[in-house]
Amino acid sequence: MYQPYLVLQARALTSQTAESDAIRFLVGTQSLKFDNQIHIIDFDDENNIISKSVLQHQAGEIWHISASPADKAVLTTCYNKSEAPALSLSQLGASVFPAQVVSSESRVVTCGAVWRMPPEWESGSHESPDDPHNSHNPQNLELLCHLDNSSHGNASCVLWEPMGDGKHVISLADNHALLWDLTESSTQATISSSATLEGKGQLKFTAGKWSPHHNCTQLATANDTAIRGWDLRTMSQIYCIENAHGQLVRDLDFNPNKQYYLASCGDDCKVKFWDVRNINEPVKTLEEHSHWVWSVRFNHSHDQLVLTGSSDSRVILSNMVSISSEPFGHLVDDDDLSDGEDNHQDEKTQEPLQDSIISTYEEHEDSVYAVEWSSADPWLFASLSYDGRLVINRVPRALKYHILL
């Protein structure tokens, strides 16, 4: 395990999606008092060395970060933007509900923006983990464009089109899902279509995921206890799992190999796996965490490996063989990938493998708000806890060989 400290509190973590060689994670910090940063964590697998670069993100504290699948250098963040009031107070105010703020007071909105990392970051600003406050100023991110949505409310997250060319993003703002088209250089963004969640009460998207299946025409969102599916072509709702969790749904993820399978997690300490064709009943439920589950991630290549992070400070790696596309624990050939579900029926010929908890990682001391698989090495993952500790772990060797062989 490798534990670089980010010094500042942090919630936002992503792997550099477009990078397929280096094991690289991006972390966005959350601080109200200092300039926020984006830490680029590089892990040298062979030498077990972690190196860290820092880029300044002066716009505000980062709540969500997401890397472009097409361009290594491009990323989006959701951040709190301060809007200083006309009658300035002694401090910068921030509020999630600008509507309720009296005009004389400060207000802060959460916005999304597309950024480009300066090309020379790799050479310029290496830091050792022990010395976070180097004297020379770290480089700034280059702002490409704002996903300006002040009319639509606060952005909770920005999603890139999976495996796309980096031209489309979706931002979830309060109760709106906005599909943006980016220009070639990503310097300009225009809303091409939008969907609005209607209903009584103050509805707000808490999480979302762009499905990599169906030609990337589907989106899944979570608000309160419900999970909704959207068709991006018509921007209309296609399914809705009411009461998917007993309490708030915190995160979603699509199975990368099985197009109808979806994982969700929430405040009822459960992780649920859904077949969206049958939304009455979850396919499977895990109840391993002892507090809210904040993040759930399928492994990109071996979808039986499921990673969850929870505010009980634990990261749990589960082996969900029974609902994976590789029910036998071995890699299916590329040809078979399409009919992964057919393999399901042959299961009885082989000895059935049990779903199991592979490992529980207890290195964190505080709530874990984000977990992420590396995009370069399918056997590596990172988890980030609120106190700024990033832990990189490997899938146990025995299991790795069991899956591969």
């Binding site: 008092k33 921030a94 400060s106 505010s311 505080d366």
Partner: protein, 861 residues
């Protein structure tokens, strides 16, 4: 020698009188003549000594020499005189003998002479006799010769006479038969006909005989017809009937046909019985008229019945178990009727049938036809068919017996049913009927057990509903009482929640009573006077498998399972189950685990003398299940209560603008509400669960720990925030702190005591508070408000938990996180916080739990 004899005769007469001497003399004579009776071997043995003077080998020379050698002179003299004396006596003896024998010889000679003369005369007479006899023989032969002819004639005549009489019988037969027919002396007719039948058959080629035979046939046909008619009429008594059958059989009527007829005749009667039974089974077509005519259903019933008149099997007949039997006969009556009518006539039929066809003496040709086998086969088929119908009726009736109120009626009915079938078993060994009947009994018993189980289950669910209502009712005014108890002492807290233990004891007592009464009802099945209760096929299976497993064990399992379902169905969204019910059930299951299950099972085993032939569910397994259920319920209770408080806290954090809030003047109402709710939960749990152990703490925990927490720790945490190197230190400090504190399991299983439960609830609530705080941004006063709130919680919550450091740690985290999320972290003075909190504490009694004080409301969005 003769002279010797004569001379000694007179002298020897006196010694003759001495028998010994006489014998000796005879012996000597015998010896002399060689007439020894004893045989020669004795003589030889005796007489080998040549010195033996009496022996045959006596050698005088040797003897003399011996004497001379051995004896003295005196002795020789004595010997000599002795010898002389002996010789003399011998001489005299001989004389006597000769004299006697001589006389006898003389008389014998005389007799022989006389005989010679007599024989000559007799010979002459015999000759005369033989000639006479010859002449008699001659005469007799002559007489027989003359009488020969006449004798032959007489014999012939007597033969003709017999024949003529037979012929006369034959010729008179038709008339006689007719007469018999007229007089209905069927038996005589049949026997007459039987006598003549062979002859007629033999001589049927002769026209005259043929005529007679035809006549007889005609008559006998008529007779048979009449008999059959009589047989068919059935009005006749059993004896008549049997006579009838016997005669018909003698008339060569095919036995099979007779059997069939007999049986079909019996069947019609039995079917009438069955129809009668079935008519009782069939519910009355319309309730209206029944209700009017039936004296048992009074006017009160009529009202409830009439609306359902359109639907005969409407819900009222099912819902009201006391109504449906009263409108008809009860099961005992039904079975009684079945037994008295159907079973007894069936027995009668079987008996008479066996009398007629099976057990009758076999004679002549009838024996060869194997009638008994055929007849028995037919009888079995017949009885089976009818019994099956009867059984199906009985079973239908039993199935209608849904009310579990009075079991004795059913048991008695079954007993009677079973008992009466034994009669059939005796009459008809090898029949399947009794075993089928037993099966029905067993099935009925099993069915009954199922019904009792269902009744128990519904009783349990109903009691739960009652408990639910009882819980809901006082709850309306209960919360204020709960608050009162929190500060105003335990006395005021009694009204509403005090009913919890009462409810628990009522619930468990009523369940136990119900189980006991059910066991008592079921026990009727095994009473001694019930015939089937002692059958091994019934008793073992019924007791161990039926009562213990199906009834008791299943019920306990049901209780556990239904309790668990409360957790599962209500798992999402908080659920509709009132938390108090969860708590109550948890305690109930725990009580079951500790004592009740063992008690019930022991009771069952004792009452039913269960022999564990087949493996039965162990007590420990059941206890384990109950404990698991109790644990699950309690965990769920903690979760639900924790969630309720969490939601309050969460709403309070999420819906407030913490940046632009005003300076705190009071503890927020929601915190007071949290404390109130925690207190009432504490009271509630305390009613059912023991206190539990807590870590020792000082007498004034809240003050002491708070000061540590606020002054020393807080200052080290917040002070560096103003220097550039602050983040590092903060993190280091917080991490070092965490290294030494244990990891807090938020949703962890709790123990069965109050402190553990409360700890669980408070953990869940405070952790939620923490997570919510981390998602918000605070202004200076926001932080201060949180400080005040946390201090307030600190003051009150520590007393509920097992380890107060847990509360401190979590509250510390909350304030720390708030400080991190604060734009202007300027903490409030500790003394001010204390003043505010104490002021807040004193105004608690005026709060109503559902109202928010206006002061805090205004600042609350």
């Amino acid at each position: 020698m003769d002279g010797d004899i004569n001379a000694t005769a007179p002298g020897t007469t006196p010694p003759d009188t001495d028998p010994a001497r006489k014998r000796r003399v005879h012996g000597m004579l015998k010896l002399y003549y060689g007439l020894n009776e004893e045989g020669k071997t004795v003589d030889q043995a005796e007489s080998m000594d040549p010195c033996d003077i009496n022996g045959p080998h006596f050698d005088p020379e040797v003897y003399l020499n011996k004497l001379r050698r051995e004896c003295s002179l005196g002795e020789l003299m004595d010997q000599e005189t002795c010898m002389v004396k002996q010789i003399r006596s011998l001489d005299s003896d001989m004389q006597t003998l000769v004299y006697e024998n001589y006389n006898k010889f003389i008389s014998a000679t005389d007799t022989i002479r006389k005989m010679k003369n007599d024989f000559k005369k007799m010979e002459d007479e015999m000759d005369c006799l033989s000639t006479n006899m010859a002449s008699i023989t001659d005469f007799s032969a002559r007489i027989s010769g003359t009488l020969q002819d006449q004798h032959a004639q007489i014999t012939k005549l007597s033969g003709v006479h017999t024949l003529l009489r037979k012929l006369q019988f034959l010729f008179e037969l038709p008339a006689r038969l007719n007469k018999c027919l007229e007089l209905q002396a069927y038996a005589q007719a049949v026997s007459s006909h039987r006598r003549a039948r062979c002859v007629l058959q033999q001589y049927s080629h002769m026209p005259s005989f043929r005529g007679i035979q035809d006549d007889c046939h005609a008559i006998m046909d008529k007779l048979a017809q009449e008999l059959r008619q009589k047989f068919r009429d059935g009005g006749s008594s059993a004896k008549d009937l049997s006579e009838c059958v016997e005669l018909l059989l003698q008339l060569d009527e095919p036995a099979e046909e007779l059997c069939d007829k007999f049986l079909s005749h019996a069947q019609s009667r039995l079917e009438a019985d069955l129809l009668g039974l079935e008519a009782e089974l069939r519910p009355p077509l319309s309730y209206g008229p029944t209700a009017v005519t039936d004296p048992y259903t009074g006017p009160a019933h009529r009202l409830s019945v009439e609306p359902t008149a359109g639907s005969p099997t409407g819900p009222s007949s099912l819902n009201n178990p006391f109504l449906s039997p009263s409108s008809r006969t009860d099961i005992l009556e039904f079975i009684d009727r079945g037994c008295n009518e159907f079973v007894s006539s069936l027995c009668l039929v079987i008996a008479s049938y066996q009398e007629l066809f099976v057990n009758r003496p076999q004679e002549g040709e009838l024996a060869s036809k194997n009638i008994p086998q055929m007849a028995i086969g037919k009888l079995h088929a017949f009885v089976d068919a009818l019994a099956t119908r009867y059984f199906s009726l009985v079973e239908r009736r039993i199935q209608e017996e849904k009310s579990v109120g009075d079991n004795s009626l059913l048991v008695r009915a079954l007993d009677r049913f079973h008992r009466r079938l034994q009669a059939v078993a005796k009459l008809l060994p090898g029949s399947a009927v009794p075993s089928q009947g037993t099966e029905i009994v067993v099935r009925a018993a099993r069915e009954r057990i199922k019904q009792y189980l269902a009744a128990l289950q519904s009783f349990y669910l109903n009691s739960l509903t009652d408990v639910r209502q009882a819980l809901a009712a006082p709850r309306l005014g209960g919360s204020s009482a709960g608050v009162g108890s929190h500060l105003g002492g335990p006395a005021t807290g009694k009204e509403a929640p005090a009913s919890l233990p009462e409810l628990l004891s009522t619930l468990s007592a009523s369940i136990l009573n119900q189980i006991k009464s059910v066991l008592a009802s079921v026990h009727l099945f095994t009473a001694k006077d019930i015939t089937f209760s002692n059958k091994p096929y019934f008793k073992g299976d019924f007791c161990s498998h039926g009562v213990r497993e199906s009834l008791v064990v299943n019920f306990i399992k049901f209780v556990c399972q239904s309790s668990r379902q409360f957790c599962e169905s209500a798992g999402d969204r908080g659920g509709s189950t009132p938390p108090a019910l969860l708590l109550l059930l948890s305690r109930l299951c725990l009580d079951y685990e500790t004592s009740t299950i063992t008690y019930i099972l022991t009771l069952t085993d004792e009452q039913f003398l269960v022999q564990h032939h087949s493996p039965v569910t162990a007590v420990t397994a059941l206890c384990g299940e109950a404990r698991e259920a109790a644990q699950k319920l309690l965990n769920h209770y903690v979760k639900v209560q924790g969630l309720i408080i969490s939601q309050m806290l969460r709403k309070s954090v999420e819906t407030r603008d913490w940046v632009n809030t005003i300076e705190p003047r009071n503890v927020r109402a929601v915190m007071k509400r949290v404390v109130e709710d925690t207190t009432s939960i504490d009271v509630q749990v305390g009613l059912l669960y023991e206190e539990g152990v807590r870590k020792a703490h000082s007498s004034d925990s809240s003050k002491r720990t708070f000061s540590v927490y606020s002054s020393s720790r807080q200052q080290t945490r917040y002070a560096p925030s103003y220097t550039p190197s602050a983040p590092m230190d903060t993190n280091l400090l917080s991490n070092i702190h965490k290294l030494f504190s244990e990891r807090v399991e938020i949703f962890s299983p709790v123990e069965f005591n109050k402190v553990s439960v409360l700890t669980g609830i408070i953990k869940i609530s405070l952790k939620t508070f923490l997570e919510c705080v981390r998602l918000r941004t605070f202004g200076r006063y926001g932080l201060q408000q949180i400080q005040v709130d946390c201090h307030y919680l600190q003051m009150y919550l520590w007393r509920f938990v097992s380890d107060e450091n847990l509360v401190h740690f979590l509250l510390d985290e909350i304030v720390g996180s708030t400080a991190h999320r604060c734009l202007d972290p300027a903490p409030m003075e500790q003394s001010v916080i204390e003043v505010i909190c104490e002021r807040g504490a004193t105004c608690i009694p005026v709060f109503l739990p559902l109202t928010v004080p206006p002061a805090s409301l205004s600042s609350c969005p």
